[in-house]
Amino acid sequence: MASKLQILTEREADILILVPEGRIDSSNASDFEREMNTHIDNGDVNLVVDFSRLSFISSSGMRVLLIAAKRVRRGGKLVLCSMRDSIREIFSISGFDAIITVVKSRQDALSV
């Protein structure tokens, strides 16, 4: 059964950190999109998505990140961190790592 996507949120100064858990696929990408849009609508434009608890993401989840990056590009930034190798590979194949900042660790993400 599909289960609602769990996303932990933390704040560090003006940066909002989102930590999605498990999988983002076509059955729950809409949860992810709703959550990202809510934060951006509320004025959060400096966003970090920490992938450390994410084991899987498909193109439906990557689409949400692209939309968010486009929305915050004037005046803010979306940074992704802590990806496992198999996820990092698909960001590279899709050319996303050329347009969305991907860094190794949470610490690096907060200092971009």
């Binding site: 076509s26 059955s27 899987f56 689409r63 486009k70 190798d85 899709s94």
Partner: protein, 140 residues
Amino acid sequence: MISGNLNVSLMARLSELRDLAAMVETFGEAHDLPHRTNFIINLALEELITNTLLHGQFEDGVEPEISISLGVNESQVVVVLESNGGQFDPTQDSNPDLTSDLADRPIGGLGLHLVKSQADRFEYEWADGINRITLTYNTS
């Protein structure tokens, strides 16, 4: 690598993809598949099945029917995905824009590109009203 097969038929709802992913994961672990191979097989199934369910042409009263088989031998994993829903050849999909800057980058069209890029062979046949996609992944 331990040889073996897995056959699964789906009722074809997006919510079933979770169960399928868990089965593929368990199968991969039982057959000592590398983590990356497990990941890219699950990604390919997610992208291809989502595509069929969202864009397949199902006539009134015709339910989506999808079956998947995985076969492992010493050097390869072969995944066969059969579906109804009208003829659609995913190997012919045009290449998406992967180079425009953020402002101009189109949203969508990535899923099949990922499948195509990660498979060592990506083949398609249409016969008797069934789409048959065969994906081959080398493991050694």
